[in-house]
């Protein structure tokens, strides 16, 4: 059974009659790491939010773990990470990670055990009692990832989580994310506008184009795991980067052709 199964999905925003997404068909299998990549305005973040039942589609169906998306949300089937880490200033790092566990009604002892495990997973042991604003941007993002994975959701949705970070931090966090993904065995849907990031991380890169937002191509990333710094220097890595780039340009050429008509 697919973790995410999207059929004939269309999203039209009421204001301005904008077609954000058109005829999206996509199936994501358990354990996959799927990137949604495309220019701004291609609807990749909208698609992520529709999978997460934060936005309602205009037509079509979205099934998560064989259930309609609203049911999956109610069942706590996914964790989400935004570009902004969305940590609450009035909570310590530990309490931020514990937030979903509180909402699930876990008792204090169980919460503490899990929070300690999660902080160890993202290598932030000893920072539990810090306030979020005392941490660097990269550390804040690791706290957000720990929070999203704390209740072991089968699906992790990430909306340009490293978009606001510098290149060095981003590359380090990319490697950490792969390590966490392999350890947690969850399925990841990852929105990005970085070709390098999409190729380095994903099992598949879903290339999208804009106006209307649609899937232009799906590139299988057949680089072996575990991937590391050396992966970025392999010929196959460059071939795949080129392939994704060409798919993106083909998509935008299509845009222009449509605009000319």
């Amino acid at each position: 059974m697919s973790v995410v199964a999207i059929e004939k999905l269309t999203k039209q925003f009421a204001q301005g009659n904008v077609v954000a997404l058109q005829d999206i068909e996509l199936a994501i299998e358990p354990g996959e790491f799927v990137s949604l990549i495309g220019p701004s305005g291609c609807g990749k973040s909208t698609l992520l939010r529709i999978i997460g039942d934060l936005i309602q589609p205009t037509s079509g169906t979205v099934m998560v773990n064989g259930k309609p998306a609203p049911r999956a949300r109610a069942d706590h089937d996914y964790g989400i990470v935004f570009q902004d880490s969305v940590l609450f200033d009035w909570r310590t790092v530990s309490k931020n990670v514990a937030l979903p566990l509180e909402l699930l009604g876990w008792d204090r002892a169980r919460r503490k055990t899990r929070v300690d495990e999660m902080l160890a997973l993202v290598e932030l042991q000893g920072f539990g009692d810090h306030q979020p604003w005392q941490l660097s941007g990269g550390m804040q993002m690791r706290v957000a990832i720990a929070r999203a994975l704390a209740f072991e959701p089968p699906l992790l949705l990430m909306d340009e989580p490293f978009g606001a970070l510098d290149e060095m931090t981003r590359e380090r966090l990319n490697m950490e994310l792969l390590r966490i993904w392999e350890a947690s065995k969850s399925t990841v849907v990852f929105v990005t506008h970085s070709i390098a990031e999409a190729v380095f991380l994903s099992t598949r890169a879903v290339v999208m184009s804009a106006r209307p937002g649609r899937i232009a191509d799906i590139v299988e990333i057949d680089l072996p795991y575990p991937r590391g710094a050396a992966t970025r220097e392999e010929p196959r890595y460059f071939e795949l980067v080129t392939q994704v780039r060409e798919a993106l340009h083909l998509g935008s050429d299509l845009d222009r052709a449509v605009a000319d008509v």
């Binding site: 706590h76 935004f82 902004d84 609450f88 200033d89 306030q131 949705l157």
Partner: protein, 274 residues
């Protein structure tokens, strides 16, 4: 009534004395200004032959205060109780109204224009009216005017805090299938607290103003506003000034208590201390 708010957290002995020492040093410039102002005031009145009814000497005010301290402090306490009552009632209603309007934004769109218009009204002008609504000699009329004064800043600030939550925070909570009550408890209310406390501090001042001005239009024989009013009318200016001093002391103490509560409630927030 002169006790300073004490340090909240237990601190090692050496560190505490260091802290107190640093505190004292922080306050030194302000203390110097106070002493200079009092000395200049005291001396200029004698030197320039300023009439007693314009401004008595601080030393005369102080000695009058000492002679009448029982009556003055009783009057101050009486008026402070009215202010406190108005503060509690007005702030509670303000917070409650903000919670209701934040929960039902449609209601907010209907009512906010009037709330904003009402908050621009010089409410103190209603003081004689509240005296007519309730007995002018009882506490209720002063509590009413103080409550109306406190209501608007607390209401407007709290509502702004409750509704200025980042959309991504709400999306995060919704992704956990959190309900409205959880979103209020864990996101909206903590976001609003700093703004609410700012308003509460303003409200302490407003409540004292409301109670005293209300008393100018009539009140209990024991009330501070009545005392200040009647002493000025009978040329007992030193006593009137001493009454004003007592009003200031109660007002400042009230403010400091709420500021202290704010520090306790908002510890950990980036704005309080570094």
């Amino acid at each position: 009534m002169s006790s300073q708010p004490v340090a909240v957290a237990p601190v090692p002995r050496g560190a505490l004395s260091q802290r107190v020492g640093r505190r004292a040093l922080d306050w030194l410039p302000a203390l110097v200004v106070l002493v200079v102002v009092l000395v200049v005031w005291q001396e200029s009145i004698a030197l320039l032959h300023i009439k007693r009814f314009l401004a008595p000497q601080p030393s005369a005010i102080a000695s009058t205060f000492w002679d009448d301290r029982g009556e003055l402090l009783r009057a101050g306490w009486f008026t402070f109780q009215e202010a406190l009552g108005g503060f509690v009632v007005g702030s509670a209603l303000g917070i409650l109204a903000a919670l209701v309007l934040a929960r039902w934004p449609r209601l907010s769109r209907a009512l906010m224009p009037y709330a904003i218009a009402a908050s621009a009204v010089p409410i103190i002008a209603f003081a004689p009216i509240t005296n007519a609504w309730f007995s002018p000699f009882g506490k209720t009329s002063k509590i009413a005017i103080a409550a109306i004064l406190c209501f608007f800043p607390v209401f407007v600030n709290t509502l702004r805090g409750l509704t200025s939550v980042r959309p991504s925070s709400i999306e995060l909570m919704r992704s956990y299938a959190a309900g409205e009550i959880d979103i209020f408890r864990r996101v909206r209310i903590p976001t609003a607290l700093p703004l609410t406390f700012t308003a509460l501090k303003i409200a302490t001042v407003l409540s004292m103003i409301g109670a005293i001005v209300g008393e100018y239009f009539g009140g209990d024989f024991n009330a501070l506003g009545v005392l200040i009013n009647s002493r000025s009318a009978t040329f007992a200016f030193e006593e009137a000034w001493a009454g004003i001093g007592v009003a200031c002391a109660f007002g400042i103490a009230f403010y400091l208590v709420v500021a202290g509560l704010e520090r306790v409630a908002l510890r950990g927030a980036p704005s309080t201390e570094d």
